[in-house]
Amino acid sequence: MLSWVKNRNGTFDRSITFERLMRDSYRQAYSVAYRLTGDSSDAEDLVQEAFVRAFRFFHRYDDKLPFSSWMYRIIANAHIDLIRRKGKIKTSSLDHSGSDGMQAFEIADHSNVPGKDMINDSFSESVQGGLNQMNPEFRLAVVLADVEGLSYEEVADIMETSVGTVRSRIHRGRVQLRNYLLKTAPESYGRHADVL
């Protein structure tokens, strides 16, 4: 419990509220974080970091926006910071790539995921690979709209931009993903395209 926090501004109630919202939304947050990072341990770190930030700025949260949307926004910002930090690490130490590769291999093998799904594991890895390659802004827009099923307006609220910009990001993200799949998994992608 976070109820140990108490001060004159009613932080006591706020931390109880926050904890309830966090426990209600962490699964959804994790799912988006997983799609953004493509890795379960990165997703955990991202979710943790995002909720720590959210708690710090919870006094600024305006409940006109659904809490999950506010969290998506924080996750997106934290993710951009994570990419920047990782970019710096990568250029400074190359000897890390071996262990990272192992980890990615182990995590990619989630064959025990229940299978009501239309897509097999190896193709879904390709799709995730395509998401990972995408420009982060396109990726966020595509994940929110196509994976989470949000409307353009909701995505625009989360990304603090116009519906027109969202439309263009989603479109460009989809085109990037299509090109990636045509290059890396043409047969599987072709089978999906043929269904139409």
Binding site: M1, L2, W4, V5, E19, M22, R23, Y26, R27, A29, Y30, S31, Y34, R35, S40, A43, E44, V47, Q48, F51, V52, F55, R56, H110, V113, P114, G115, D117, M118, I119, D121, F123, S124, V127, Q128, V142, A145, D146, V147, G149, S151, Y152, V163, R167, S168, I170, H171, R172, R174, V175, L177, R178, L181, Y189, H192, A193, V195, L196
Partner: protein, 143 residues
């Protein structure tokens, strides 16, 4: 691409994210433009692929507890940081305070003179701090 239809409009069309009038106009165009038709089919396949993705692995059940612990640690670290930053500040203040406000001999004389004056007032039956007559206090006590 031979036609000048805005490409991102086709994504919005696929998503139904435009007005009914616009939808109709695009549909009419797409039916007669093979390029746009191909593009629309491509966008639909990508969308289907994304919608058909298997659910991500479950978040670990202990994640909320770890988040709570992490928030607490962060707060504690802020406090520790504040204290750690405050220690050298206090030390600096302690070291520099006497030097920044040295008591000059002149001031010391003044203090002694004031004390003497107070003692004289006390002798004369007056409270040297408030200036009230001690007789007043004596009256209060005898009530």
């Amino acid at each position: 691409m031979s036609c000048n239809t805005s490409q991102s409009k086709l994504s919005a069309y696929v998503d139904g994210e435009m007005s009914g009038m616009e939808m109709q106009a695009i549909r009419r165009h797409v039916n007669h433009c093979p390029d746009c038709q191909g593009q629309v089919n491509d966008l639909k396949s990508v969308q289907m692929v994304l919608r058909g993705l298997p659910s991500t692995p479950e978040a670990p059940a202990n994640l909320p507890d770890r988040i709570t612990a992490s928030i607490k640690t962060t707060r504690r670290n802020y406090l520790r940081y504040a204290i750690v930053m405050a220690i050298p500040l206090c030390a600096v203040a302690v070291i520099f305070y006497p030097r920044s406000a040295p008591i000059r001999a002149q001031d010391r004389d003044l203090v002694i003179h004031r004390q003497l004056a107070k003692d004289q007032l006390f002798d004369a039956g007056t409270d040297s701090t408030s200036g009230a007559s001690l007789v007043h206090y004596a009256n209060l006590e005898s009530r």
